[in-house]
Amino acid sequence: MTPLVLALPVALLAGAWLGAWLDRLVPVLWGRPAQGPFGPLRDGAALLARPTATTEAPDRLTRWLAPGTYLALAAVGLSVIPMAPGLAPLDSSVGIVVWGACEALTVIAVFLHGWSPNAPFPLIGAYRYVAIGLPVMLPSMFVLIAAALPAESLSLVQVVEAQREVWNVLRQPMGLPLFLLVGLTLTLRGPFDFADGADIAGGTSGQESGPGRALWQLARLTMLTAFSAMAATAFLGGPLGPGLPGPAWLALKTAAVMAVTVGLGHTVARTTPSQMLHPLWVGALPLSFLHLALAGWVAL
């Protein structure tokens, strides 16, 4: 265990704050008054000042297990990402596999969150999210495996090293757009927010209040942080860059990916789940096959 692990909570909290602020800044484009950097902290304090509601005969275990799992997956996912060239909190030789596991298990965390309150709208959100979340996980893995091809390794440290000359976003141009779909799904945003939508009155978090609600929002935002850092690492060269130290480059690139993800979440409309399922299987999945083939051809 390297001491870098201790930097994880700081990175996650900073990322969560930035994500929450971006969430309040992006609507400025549509004429909402701007909020200062303290906006998210105020809203967080307001949530913590309220009580946590309970529901009729809830599943008490999954009530805290679900947000805990979501948070743990985000933290473990972030831990394999190198913060400086050659230096990751958890220098795993199979970092991409670890991240893939965290990604896929997110579907379970969200499902349990919708299951726990024993109420119909959260339950509908939970099942619906599983139906959309599963097919989204497939393109994601193709995209990440394509990123591993030039590195000849599943270690993210090696994936970064392999981008010294040219970033993957140029070698594999379809990778980042496909991976952004995954990010929107993992963080329950905009067009892929089938778990917490407005048509089911807030869905899986509709029965939540106070600290319980704050916890779920925190978990969502930490997952946004982990996802953005992963996208920056796999496609934008992670901590590589001239002048500034590695961690600063990683933070800048992560913030950029985060801004794009939040922006897309606010601009792209959500369609009905039945209409979404089809293009994911017959559009996004074949595209990711093609992406892998092209990436393989370029790598050879």
Binding site: P27, G31, A45, F121, Y127, S205, E208, R213, A269, R270
Partner: protein, 300 residues
């Protein structure tokens, strides 16, 4: 010191409000939340203040009490008749709640929905897996499925009159199987609303909000066109096709161009039966509230 700072920060957050909309108030409420610095929550659990807009008819009194009690204590109620600006009252109530005042007690008696009966620790005993009244509510029983004939559990509920995704006042008795509406019955029609609630802009904003574009809906209500990549295309082709009036997509496109929707009122039970929940909610919002009111009066 830290505690005082925490409460000051919480009090400076925007008030979290759940609104119960009465007759003649829909457009006023929507306009209020498009401009004001307060958050309209999708469910009472996330709110601290109940805003009662207009005179709620006697038939909705119990529903109003239920919503009031579902706001976790401490809570306060603010009444608004549409004349002066309710923001001062909302902010004052929010400040009191954040300062730790005790708020209002429950309005309904603390009784379970049904008396517990049956055998076993949780009253779960009955015939085999079925029957019994665990935690004061019976378990769902099987019913015929409208699509593929599988005999799975049917879940009967009454939604409304203050469901945020339905026109205010509308009460539907729905039997769900999974997220599919197996049967629908209109028990109460929406409250009458003046012409401003049927304005193309107001109708389009409601649909945009359902599609996950809240800030853009507010922008539209304030009078500027939304910027979305796919708002119109997010609605499936042919959904809610009604003779000369076109489908939901044509109606939304017309609304965004400022044209009122045409066409006869739909047959609500026939419209909803066999629909997935998201589709059903989009459908009900793809006609102006007045058309839905005529349809509901006819179906009641």
């Amino acid at each position: 010191m830290a505690v005082r700072l925490f409460h000051r920060m919480a009090a400076r957050s925007a008030p979290a409000v759940f609104v119960c909309i009465g007759p003649r108030m829909q457009a006023l409420v929507e306009g209020l939340f498009a401009r004001a610095q307060s958050r309209r929550m999708e469910s009472p659990a996330g709110a601290a203040i109940l805003l009662v807009a207009g005179d709620i008819p006697r038939r909705a009194a119990v529903a109003l009490d239920r919503i009031h009690d579902q706001i976790p204590p401490p809570r306060e109620t603010v009444h608004w008749d549409g004349c002066d600006d309710p923001m001062t009252e909302l902010l004052a109530a929010w400040a009191r709640l954040m300062a730790g005042e005790s708020g209002e007690p429950d309005r309904l008696p603390d009784d379970p929905p049904n008396p517990w009966k049956g055998h076993g620790d949780h009253g779960q005993g009955g015939e085999g897996m079925m029957g019994g009244v665990p935690y004061g509510r019976p378990m769902a029983m099987t019913g015929e499925d409208p699509r593929d004939g599988l005999k799975l559990d049917a879940y009967t509920m009454r939604v409304g009159p203050f469901a945020p995704m339905l026109p205010p006042g509308l009460v539907l008795e729905l039997t769900l199987q999974g997220d599919l509406i197996a049967s629908a019955r209109v028990t109460e029609a929406p409250f009458p609303q003046p012409e401003d609630a049927n304005a193309p802009r107001a109708c389009a904003a409601r649909l945009l909000r359902l599609l996950g574009l809240g800030p853009q809906a507010d922008r539209l209500l304030r009078g500027t066109a939304p910027r979305s990549l796919n708002a119109v295309r997010a609605l499936p082709v042919g959904l809610g096709a009604a003779g000369t009036g076109g489908d939901a997509r044509t109606r939304l496109r017309g609304w965004l161009e400022g044209k009122p929707a045409e066409g006869p009122p739909p047959d609500i039970p026939r419209l909803l039966e066999g629909r997935e929940w998201h589709e059903a909610v989009v459908l009900l919002n793809s006609w102006p509230p007045d058309t839905i009111r005529q349809a509901a009066e006819a179906a009641r």
